[in-house]
């Protein structure tokens, strides 16, 4: 008879888990960075489309800071709505997956896919969404602030 402690027996399992977690975080992070760049792109294009409107706001008495605030809020609204929708979608999917049957010898007590509903994941998710949209909004909104109203109006 051989006695092996649980940590030694599960060592291989643990290593695998650590690396798999690392991969998951790396992939998620990359996806979010890509999404952030997408928002940055959209906001930049939006400013080009809205150049006339920005010029008229400035001519009417809105300051550069006001204009910057408008575009920053736009970025954050995208972040909040997108983040919340993402969390709801994630919650929905994870609840569904939680119902899916799953049996494996190495985990005899499990009958359905084991899903970790730790609220921290949701917190991390929304915080990251807000941070990445905030960062995506900084440069475009600063550009909008600096737009020279006279140049645009006379360009017509």
């Amino acid at each position: 008879m051989n006695a092996v402690d649980i940590n030694t027996a599960n060592a291989q399992f643990e290593t695998g888990t650590t690396i798999r977690n690392l991969i998951t975080y790396a992939v998620s992070f990359t996806l979010l960075v890509v999404a952030g760049f997408g928002i940055y792109n959209i906001l930049n294009m939006l400013i080009y489309e809205k150049m006339n409107d920005i010029a008229i706001l400035k001519a009417t008495g809105f300051s550069g800071n006001d204009v910057q605030y408008i575009f920053m809020s736009q970025a954050l609204i995208i972040g909040i709505i997108g983040g919340v929708l993402g969390l709801l979608l994630g919650l929905g999917l994870s609840l569904l997956i939680d119902q899916a049957p799953f049996e494996t010898d190495s985990l005899p007590t499990i009958t359905t896919y084991p899903v970790n509903h730790d609220p921290m994941f949701y917190v991390i998710g929304i915080v990251f969404a807000l941070i990445s949209t905030f960062l995506a909004g900084v440069l475009p909104s600063r550009k909008a602030k600096k737009i020279d109203a006279v140049q645009i109006i006379r360009g017509q």
């Binding site: 409107d53 008229i56 400035k58 001519a59 009417t60 008495g61 300051s63 550069g64 800071n65 109006i153």
Partner: protein
């Protein structure tokens, strides 16, 4: 002499592509209730001067006074507030915000100023629209009205904060003669009835002849 607007020794240079002096020692004053037009050949500097007087262009030498206060050298935020409160601007192109209604467009500068409540602003905006004969367009989207109507909305918007002076950069340039005459009459009435000062850059001889005073410019100078 109580000038609503006064320019003293204004010089301006364009730096690109080469150094070029576009305004040379420009000095003059506009009194309360004076309806003034600026005329001159293309390139004489009249529009450049107008944008300096509007506080939107701060790259010049010389001094600018509005209602007796020195404007030159103030920071962007103060200039924006000044523009909001004392200057109404009408461009050749209407520049309305297309997704908003006529009423919302007119209310916008007043909302920024923040002196009145939203309800009071709505009432005042309707008043201005009524003055210009377009109150029935109040709830229409700005993109859905005719050119002449759009320009009248732009004028209503310029008036919403009861400015000391209205500045215009060829406001009738895109209008047919009927609408152009309309715009002139509205301006004239405002200067006579409400003591509003006006400074209008124009190419339109008929328009300029009927104003109180014509400032003629050539090569960056005012011709006396």
């Amino acid at each position: 002499m109580d000038y609503v607007l006064e320019a003293r020794n204004i010089d301006k240079y364009f730096k690109k592509p080469v150094l070029f002096q576009v305004l040379k020692d420009v000095s003059f004053g506009i009194e309360k209730g004076e309806f003034t037009s600026i005329m001159g050949k293309s390139g004489c500097g009249k529009s450049t001067l107008l944008y300096i007087l509007s506080t939107m262009d701060t790259d010049y030498d010389g001094e600018l006074f509005i209602n007796g206060k020195l404007i030159t050298g103030q920071d962007q935020r103060s200039l924006s507030r000044l523009r909001n409160e004392h200057i109404g601007f009408v461009f050749q192109f209407h520049y309305l915000l297309a997704e908003f209604t006529v009423l919302e467009n007119v209310m916008l500068p007043a909302k920024k100023l923040g002196t009145y409540s939203n309800e009071e602003i709505r009432v005042r905006a309707m008043e201005k629209l009524r003055m210009l004969g377009i109150e029935k367009l109040a709830l229409k989207k700005a993109s859905q009205i005719s050119g002449g109507e759009k320009q009248r909305v732009a004028i209503a918007r310029a008036l919403i904060n009861d400015p000391s002076i209205i500045m215009g950069d060829e406001p009738t340039g895109n209008l047919d003669s009927h609408n152009a005459a309309n715009v002139f009459n509205i301006f004239k009435q405002l200067s006579v009835d409400q003591g509003l000062s006006l400074l209008i850059v124009t190419h339109d001889d008929d328009f300029a002849k009927k104003t109180d005073r014509i400032i003629e410019m050539s090569d960056g100078r005012i011709l006396k």
